[in-house]
């Protein structure tokens, strides 16, 4: 004898009880996990605003999948668009230096710092409050505003335009550059790296 009393093995709980226990455990994990997950989102600096519609422009406030083509999306949202030649003309326009023409980059911070059209202002439409204090006075004073993102299927320039339109900027001033930064660089135009007006200009390769 080693001093420990002998225990008869306890009867194995029936399968139904075991199943209920697992189900209850899953429910507990789901409930606690859901609360923790939403709390983590609320604390995170990149967290989403649950109450906001990040994809405006759809009928009845519902979220619809991306349109088949960017032009179809622009038509549906009632927005104007331009191509690379027109964007270049506006870039060369003397009014650009006077901020009567404005270029707005609707991509995220990382993409903006990597490369943007020289002198363009950053405006990530998913985190608008960070930028509106700068962007709104600029747009109110500008006669023509060019918004762009990556081109192709990218819709962020459209969402940026809608955010500005909702903030009171006239629709007739807003032009979405459909080809975006991809078209700009493919055409061999210069870009800027880092902050706005950093002076770090990368000459284009025609």
């Amino acid at each position: 004898m080693n001093g420990h009393p002998h225990h008869a093995s306890s009867p194995r709980p029936c399968r139904l009880t075991e199943f209920k226990q697992v189900l209850l455990e899953a429910l507990a994990v789901a409930l606690i996990g859901g609360i923790i997950a939403l709390a983590a989102n609320a604390i995170s600096p990149r967290g989403l605003n649950i109450a906001r519609n990040y994809f405006p422009g759809s009928a009845h406030g519902v979220v619809t999948p991306p349109p088949l083509s960017p032009i179809a999306g622009l038509r549906q949202k009632g927005l104007q668009w331009i191509d690379g030649s027109k964007a270049r003309l506006l870039f060369k326009d003397p009014r650009y230096a006077q901020q009567r023409v404005a270029f707005i980059d609707a991509r995220n911070d990382e993409e903006y710092r990597h490369e943007h059209i020289p002198g363009a202002y950053p405006f990530d439409p998913y985190y608008p409050t960070k930028f509106l204090a700068t962007i709104l006075p600029l747009c109110q004073g500008a006669e023509e505003i060019v918004l762009y993102c990556n081109g192709g299927d990218c819709e962020d320039s459209q969402f940026a335009a809608l955010t500005l339109r909702d903030a009171g900027i006239e629709n007739k001033k807003l032009f979405v550059y459909v080809g975006g930064i991809t078209d700009w660089t493919n055409r061999g135009y210069a870009t800027e790296i880092g902050e706005r007006n950093s002076g770090n200009i990368v000459p284009g390769v025609p």
């Binding site: 697992v22 455990e25 997950a37 990149r46 967290g47 649950i50 979220v63 995220n108």
Partner: protein, 168 residues
């Protein structure tokens, strides 16, 4: 049969189950974090599935699901509420895998099925869909294995309802 011969086999099964638990846990922590740190990108991915049209619900899924995956993965790594967490992972993996398959089938028009690639919103960028479906099937099978009650070794608290051990 000599019972001693069964022992190594049982040990191998136990070790394999613990390794499977660690693997599933690590995969979910990694994939959850990669989405949680880029929530806007994940939000766009969720939208592409066109499964949810209500903005509030869409945002809640995109905001909560990545962190929820991290939590479930961490629970499996620590060995806490293992069967409950495994059941939840199955409940997430099965519909998600079906949605990926559904979307891949909608693209399967001119190109062979296994040549289809897209970013499924899994946190690893663009992937060949055949590979993704196989990975998910393996994760589901491993989760079912855990749900069946295997791999109780190296667990902090295997079941939330287990009675604390008492010294006699």
């Amino acid at each position: 049969m000599n019972p001693s011969l069964l022992l190594p086999r049982g040990r191998i099964a136990d070790t394999a189950t613990v390794l499977a638990r660690f693997l599933i846990g690590a995969v979910f922590v990694y994939m959850g974090l990669s989405k949680a740190l880029q929530p806007v990108e994940f939000l766009k991915m969720v939208r592409q599935y066109d499964a949810v049209q209500n903005p509030f619900l869409l945002n809640t899924i995109a905001a909560g699901l990545p962190w929820f995956e991290v939590l479930c993965g961490a629970l499996l790594l620590a060995g806490i509420a293992v069967r409950g967490s495994a059941l939840i992972l199955i409940c997430m993996l099965v519909p998600f895998t079906w949605m990926v398959l559904h979307r891949a089938l909608s693209l399967h028009v001119d190109i062979p099925f296994c040549a289809i690639k897209f970013d499924c919103g899994c946190g690893v960028g663009e992937v060949p869909i055949c590979r993704k479906l196989l990975e998910n099937a393996a994760l589901i099978l491993m989760s079912v294995w855990l749900l069946a009650g295997r791999g109780r070794k190296l667990c902090l608290r295997y079941s939330l309802w287990q009675r604390p051990k008492r010294d006699v």
